[in-house]
Symmetry: C2
């Protein structure tokens, strides 16, 4: 499928993609590029990369496919560094959880003749680093591709083909719409989980220990979400600010209404809402996302 | 262990307890008492009750153990109805997610010579009704017993023995402390999940369908929690108002601080919090609650 594939950043997502390529023989040579020597050594040891280098220019030389899989805030600077060294026809893709900000940062640095195909696999775990990856991570999960107006059709198709090999279901979408949908399905839930776990962390030590001990009654699910990579998530919120703040505003209004209902003892308002939310769960099960 | 056990209310929790008793031969006769004929028929059909009746007085006659497993708001009225018909030495227990309000409602109706032992198994699923139960539900989960000052020690021990047979780990606690801990570990997480799923339910239809389709990226976990029994949860919030409002207030303050950090582009504040919440997950894993 590809002669030479370069991963810039090779944590949970990048290393899982590399494992898919190794498993299915999709790349003759895989190059891993990361700043930390330890990460590169791990990639060699795990056999998920054939060559490693901390140097952007050397990493992308002669590569057919370049996957940027670092926290979003670094993407612009990486694109600037690799742009001049891309070979004609090279495809650059990414895996960021925000698409418009990445497009704005990366596109200007992609030279004529090379192609940028933004993509976002909706997959992950709360673990980070190249050791955390596994090739089945994307199996049955969505990958959203947000092609640019005028994107090269065959480049888009190649990225699509890779994600299909990885077992993903593919959807294409406009970047700003992607960011709005993900603000609701992913970014706000993460923000809330981080918040509630932080609130618990601020409790007096005795009470905190009890909260951990009895976490299985609901809190536990939030701790799993709130164990996700801090830098990655910082960048998500910094780069999808408007959409996140808009949905957060709605959520806060709704929470205030519930708070008022509890304070006033309005059980009917609570029950009506709680019955309504059950129906959404049914939708999630029907969509085979449960 | 018991000659005659009566369940008043036999949904997910009650029917799971009855299944444990059937499995381990802990009761000669199990009586199910519920208002709806359909529920009683289901219990007979499933073989989890030997006798059924909608009548409180008839249900508790000669029973050694009476388990109240209905939504909390009904517990006072049930205690009032069964009190005069309890045999000397009868043990009344419950399974409510709030303890102080239940004690206040039930205790005054328990006659001298009978014993009330409040308990709360920290177990459940998002499914309801007698069909939803299974005997392994309590395996490895906590059951918190909140004995009253002056509770009969042998009655407490009998309730404890049952929960141990069910596979639970037992902890005793003061009722008001239980309510404070559960407000954080369970009630607030449920309130937030109900809220966010409600916020999504209010979206325009197209966007709502997309949120369901891409729910696996975080939102899904909230929909599962928000599919829990509406009446049960209404009663939890109505009966643990103070503790819930207090922790909700803290949560809201913390969320407002994060909102401000996002608006101002203060990535460092976000990253610091996100790194901190990871440590709590480690605690949950160490406590074998993950």
């Amino acid at each position: 499928m590809f002669d030479r594939v370069t991963f810039i950043g090779i944590g949970l997502i990048g290393s899982s993609m590399a494992r898919v390529m190794k498993r299915d023989g999709l790349a003759k040579t895989i190059v891993a590029c990361a700043r930390r020597k330890e990460t590169l050594d791990t990639c060699l040891k795990l056999g998920i990369a054939d060559e490693v280098t901390p140097d952007y220019a050397a990493a992308v030389k002669n590569a057919d496919l370049i996957v940027i899989a670092t926290p979003i805030s670094t993407n612009g600077e990486i694109a600037k560094a690799i742009g001049p060294h891309l070979k004609p026809g090279a495809i650059v893709t990414d895996v960021g959880s925000v698409k418009q900000a990445v497009i704005d940062a990366v596109s200007p640095h992609i030279p004529k003749g090379a192609h940028f195909v933004p993509a976002h696999p909706l997959a992950g775990t709360e673990h980070s680093g190249p050791e955390a990856g596994f090739p089945e991570l994307f199996q049955g999960r969505w990958c959203i591709i947000t092609p640019l107006p005028g994107s090269d059709a065959s480049a888009v198709q190649k990225v699509r083909d890779f994600w299909e090999k990885a077992g993903s279901k593919i959807e294409t979408m406009q970047a700003d719409h992607h960011d709005k949908v993900l603000a609701i399905t992913s970014h706000l839930p993460h923000l809330i989980a981080f918040t509630i776990v932080g609130t618990a962390d601020d409790l007096a030590e005795d009470l905190k220990q009890e909260v951990i001990q009895y976490s299985a009654s609901g809190f536990r699910d939030f701790t799993r979400i709130a164990a996700s990579d801090p830098v990655m998530w910082r960048d998500v919120f910094m780069n999808n600010r408007e959409a996140v703040l808009e949905i957060l505003q709605r959520f806060t209004e709704d929470l205030t209404a519930l708070q008022r209902a509890i304070r006033r003892g309005d059980g009917e308002a609570l029950q009506t809402l709680f019955a309504r939310t059950r129906a959404i769960r049914r939708g999630v099960i029907d969509a085979k996302q449960a």
